[in-house]
Amino acid sequence: MGERIIELRDIKKSYGQVYALGGVNLSVDRGEVVGLIGDNGAGKSTLIKILSGVVKPTSGEILVRDKPVTGWSAARSRDAGIETVFQDRALAVQQTIVRNIFMGRELTSFMGWLKVDKEIEEASRLMREIGFTSKVFTPHSIVGQLSGGERQGVAIARAIYKQAELIILDEPTTALSLTETAKVFHFVRQVRASGRSILFIGHNIHHVFDIADRFVVLDRGKVALAADRNEVKSAEDLINFMEDVAHPGGLPGLHEDAEQGAQ
């Protein structure tokens, strides 16, 4: 712990006259799970794109392991060990788990022939590392047979195989049931235990509260709250805070609605 994987300082991003991000500070240390919360349009996706190097910030500073980086790009982001796992369309569902993990980086011997045994061995090791154990599935199982949470596991294992230090999970539990969410959380905890970091992005404040060590709340392109786990007593505190941010005057009856929505 302690080592700072990446730090964003005063990142601004504008599209023409519109500010998507207006001076955001964000850092992720080794072995921690940072929860990023924010409403639609708060700037979450812009922030992810900047972290993964797809979008360049208008201004601001990016530090990798406390060293300022110039010429931030997708390649630089990969070199820094940052991998993004998108919720849907990330896997080839008619292929086996092995083929998905080694997609684009097949283990080959001479002339491009696959090292089949080596791939299975590596896949088993990766799946064990994230705590994916099963009596039903083998590395040869088709990804389409897996549940939503288990598919997230395959995507996470693939990111780990890419030597990822920081895995960005973009809404990994949005479409999942409680059981499936528990599986994803299990994988996330295993990844943290292995000394890697996770940026967990979610709509569901309860989910983010349960898994994260630290919270960052984005609102209209600004960090509205950055707090450690021990500074926030409950998910309800976080929800109340979010409501105050969204509607500073307070709206009667809104509290109950939001609570139900978050369940």
């Binding site: 080839a92 684009g104 959380f185």
Partner: protein
């Protein structure tokens, strides 16, 4: 998994209750470790095709048992089947990649034309074969680039290329065929088109091609990337696969296969016709889908495609041998295709 994955979001899973419930975790065990069951599950598409073939042959044999004991029947199928196999197998790759190629008949005609020209000019047939392979590769690259970099529908673009190339052949040759009388004495003919123990030797080359391609499909980076691109091109691109180049390569593979097929068909007949390859379009396409490769891309089976080709080529011979008139051939063609598709639909789940 069910016991270990209780919906308890607070306690870390796999520590206290999770591990204890499972005991020493035996990871990655198959539901049935019996090798036969695993083999059937992994190869059910091609096994289904084999079942269709066996049932069809059984019906023919019951109708007229004596004809099916004569060797001539099989010998005639074994002469023409290899030509089809050389294009059916690459087409399995194309369909798996989510594309289709209807231009292979013209490529067969074009490449074998080059072969005929080189041989007619007095060069060794081996040089002719090399020239045909180069022609097939270039035409495959041309068609593939048109579809991929031109962003065209492969169905329509390759149909257009089929007419275009065939038209070029017809314009230049004005319907004239080329007889290659000296071919029978060449060593190339002995290697590629003679008979060993009464069996046409080209079937051995075709089997070698099928085995090589099946390995390419299942045990090579090329096959792996073709499947992933056909399955989910967005994901493949995101993972650093050059999706466009993979797509071009499958068309090049068809070009090479078509060149081999065209050359073999000329060597069997000692004559090149301007229509060479034309008759293969529909039987070859039918073979791919009868073989158990679905239309939607991502999965397929090379061995199944080969069995499909055997099935389709036995329909005509079998119908006639069973004592039915030639008018029944088309009906049986259709029947086999429809029955196979129904079987595969029941046999294959499509995952999304």
């Amino acid at each position: 998994m069910s016991k270990a994955m209780e919906p308890d979001l607070q306690t870390p899973l796999g520590t206290a209750s999770g591990k204890a419930a499972k005991g020493p975790a035996k990871e990655w065990s198959h539901p049935s470790n019996h090798w036969l069951r695993g083999f059937v599950i992994d190869n059910r598409a091609s096994l289904g095709t084999l079942a269709v073939f066996i049932v069809m042959m059984a019906v023919f044999m019951i109708a007229n048992p004596t004809v099916f004991t004569t060797w001539y029947l099989y010998s005639s199928v074994l002469t023409t089947l290899p030509v089809a196999l050389f294009v059916v197998v690459p087409l399995v790759f194309v369909v798996t990649c989510g594309e289709i190629d209807l231009s292979f008949p013209a490529t067969m005609g074009f490449a074998s034309w080059v072969f005929a020209l080189v041989v007619q000019a007095g060069y060794d047939p081996f040089i002719g074969i090399a020239a045909a392979l180069v022609t097939g590769t270039l035409l495959g690259f041309l068609v593939g680039s048109l579809v991929v970099y031109g962003g065209l529908s492969s169905l329509i673009a390759t149909l257009g290329m089929n007419f275009l190339l065939r038209g070029l052949i017809q314009i230049i040759n004005e319907g004239r065929s080329t007889a290659l009388t000296g071919l029978a004495d060449s060593s190339a003919y002995k290697i590629f088109s003679s008979q060993v123990w009464g069996i046409p030797v080209q079937i051995f080359w075709a089997i070698a091609f099928v085995v090589f391609s099946a390995l390419l499909y299942n045990r090579h980076r090329f096959g792996a990337q073709v499947k992933v691109v056909g399955d989910n091109p967005d994901s493949a691109r995101q993972m650093g696969i050059d999706v466009k180049w993979v797509r071009v390569k499958v068309f090049v593979f068809v070009g090479i296969g078509a060149a081999i097929a065209g050359t073999f068909s000329v060597m069997i007949n000692f004559t090149w016709w301007p229509t060479a390859g034309d008759g293969y379009l529909l039987p070859v396409l039918a073979s791919v889908f009868v073989g158990g490769t679905p239309t939607w891309g991502g999965i397929g089976t090379v061995v199944g495609g080969a069995i499909g080709a055997v099935t389709v080529s036995f329909i005509q011979t079998g119908v006639v041998a069973a004592g039915l008139s030639g008018f029944y051939v088309q009906f049986f063609n259709g029947l086999i295709i429809i029955l196979s598709l129904l079987g595969h639909k029941w046999n294959q789940a499509r995952y999304r």
